[in-house]
Symmetry: C2
Subunit: 336 residues, 2 copies
């Protein structure tokens, strides 16, 4: 116990709620002593922090699918780390864990939401991405909502991202034609060449409708939506009868922008099923999905990329970049 | 055979496609001789014609869920009538039938899509409404998509209409709280007093958001949407987590108006399921639904209203009125 009292935690708290776009001033870096462990707790030194679009919603006070972070509270987030001290019967120093331990170097926990990482074959950072929440999100939306059939065409927006890249690769493995939408030719090249999508449309090039029509000669059977707004409208116009839409994210509107849908008629004309979902609602899927994702990462059939910022102090900038689309693949912060 | 050659048919054809709002000039009344029956055909004298919002879509050339009517072709539509002559083994003069026999006094048919009306307990006109396509539409959307549970709250727009009034009454029978939206205090009074809804909001009174909040203290679990646009947005803002939305019609946009949805975020935040549907896709439900609806009409537990125009020549005006909401309940035309 004496050792923990000498440790200093470093953490990032929500300093103020954003008015529209997130700025560095919405965050504050703090040092604070690590309190002694209570019985039944263990202390984790976080090694990597995951940055995810859902965190934007938690910075607002409005109703969203995640509870708001209070002003002055540590920003929430998934981490992988190592147990450095334990008064918990199931955890010992040296154990590697995945948990919701926030934007900070140290976290004391009773183990709620924490998993011990048993497989050494899966790289540590992958537990925050392709074999973690984003990967399970992709798996659930694809398999439980879109239910792909070989020969069908799937579109996915934010195709180079942590979720979109997995959606597309799993759909390819299921025998689908897969068309991604991403911002910039660099991302599109990765989506096609590394992830093996059949096509990728650079929405920044400004010819989305024409390119989408050319890339989906048989129309679109499934849409995995991460963005919303005009890009979603563009795909709605290409949907086939009895098409399915999984709404995973609406990042286009996370800063308060208008994300109105205009091609609403397609819902009726094409008898679409549109389903919003949050992966946390479906705990029963996690073990099934993580097993498949882990195996595919280990055998090399599931590719992924990471963008890693260095140092907790750079987390706000990396997060703002993520919201603007400057990352490629999973955005992480290495906590040195 | 000789008798049919002496008969004159009177019919309404599509004279031109509407530019936005439908006008009387889009229709033309014609007289034409009734051709002799071929072997395997029978001739029906239509007694009542059903007018339905879906017909608006068929007047356009754009892709919709129903094939466009060609310019110069008889307007399609459901009718009830009586067989006056037959060269078909299963039909005889005097049989009463329901069929897709169009805006005309006489129709020769081989029987495709035609049903003989066996039950004399159900009033003839009800086969076009509450115990017909609109009733089955209500039944399917409610039972197959919304899946009501006792104690839940359902909202339905166009609540006094042929579909909406049945949706609400069936949901009440399932133990739900039912809130309608309709245009005008007269319609709202009927919805509350005759159909037994818990509340009805007059959207023309202009306080939809406030009244909806007051009428749905536990939020909205299910939305049966017939209108779209701003009214749909108003309900989306009240949806509960895991809410369900059946999209049956988007009449607000049938004349080409903008029916953009603005509260798209609700799909994700509340993990909504939104399902567009067309009752013609689900033939397996018709016998089940028609049996329940017929029994409820006969035992008096399912109420309905009809607005009946007199004479084929008045069908265009009645149809234009229907699109503008001037009817109460099922809009029919008596074909004298």
């Amino acid at each position: 116990m004496s050792s923990s009292t000498t440790r200093t935690n470093r953490r990032i708290v929500l300093a103020s709620r954003p008015k529209g776009t997130v700025t560095p001033e919405n965050f504050r870096l703090e040092d604070a002593p690590v309190a002694p462990l209570a019985d039944g707790e263990f202390l984790v030194r976080n090694l990597y922090l995951s940055l995810d679009p859902y965190m934007r919603g938690r910075m607002d006070d409005a109703k969203s699918y995640a509870k708001p972070v209070a002003v002055g509270e540590v920003m929430g987030g998934g981490t992988v780390g190592e147990v450095v001290e334990s008064r918990h019967p199931s955890y010992a120093a040296g154990d590697r864990v995945l948990g919701p331990l926030g934007w900070q170097l140290f976290a004391a926990t009773s183990g709620a939401g924490v998993r011990k990482l048993e497989s050494a074959d899966v790289p540590l950072t992958a537990w925050l991405g392709v074999v973690g929440m984003p990967g399970v999100t992709a798996w659930h939306g694809l398999n439980r909502i879109l239910e792909p059939k070989a020969g069908e065409t799937l579109c996915v927006s934010a195709a180079s991202g942590a979720v979109g890249s997995v959606v597309g690769q799993l759909a390819k493995a299921a025998g689908c034609r897969v068309v991604g939408i991403a911002g910039g030719e660099q991302k599109c090249r990765i989506v096609r060449d590394e992830y093996g999508f059949d096509a990728c449309i650079d929405y920044k090039a400004g010819r989305v409708d024409e390119e989408l029509a050319a890339a989906t000669p048989d129309g679109v059977h499934m849409l995995f939506e991460n963005v919303g707004g005009a890009l979603m409208d563009a795909v709605l116009a290409r949907m086939n009868t009895f098409g399915r839409v999984a709404v995973c994210g609406l990042i286009a509107g996370y800063n308060g922008e208008d994300i109105a849908l205009r091609r609403v008629r397609s819902i009726l004309v094409n008898r679409l099923k549109i389903q919003g979902f949050i992966v946390g609602d479906h705990p029963q899927d996690w073990p099934i999905a993580l097993k498949e994702l882990g195996e595919r990462v280990v055998d090399g059939s599931l590719k992924y990329r990471e963008t890693i910022a260095n140092g907790l102090e750079n987390a706000p900038r990396a997060f703002i970049g993520l919201l603007g689309g400057s990352n490629v693949g999973k955005q992480l912060v290495k906590l040195d």
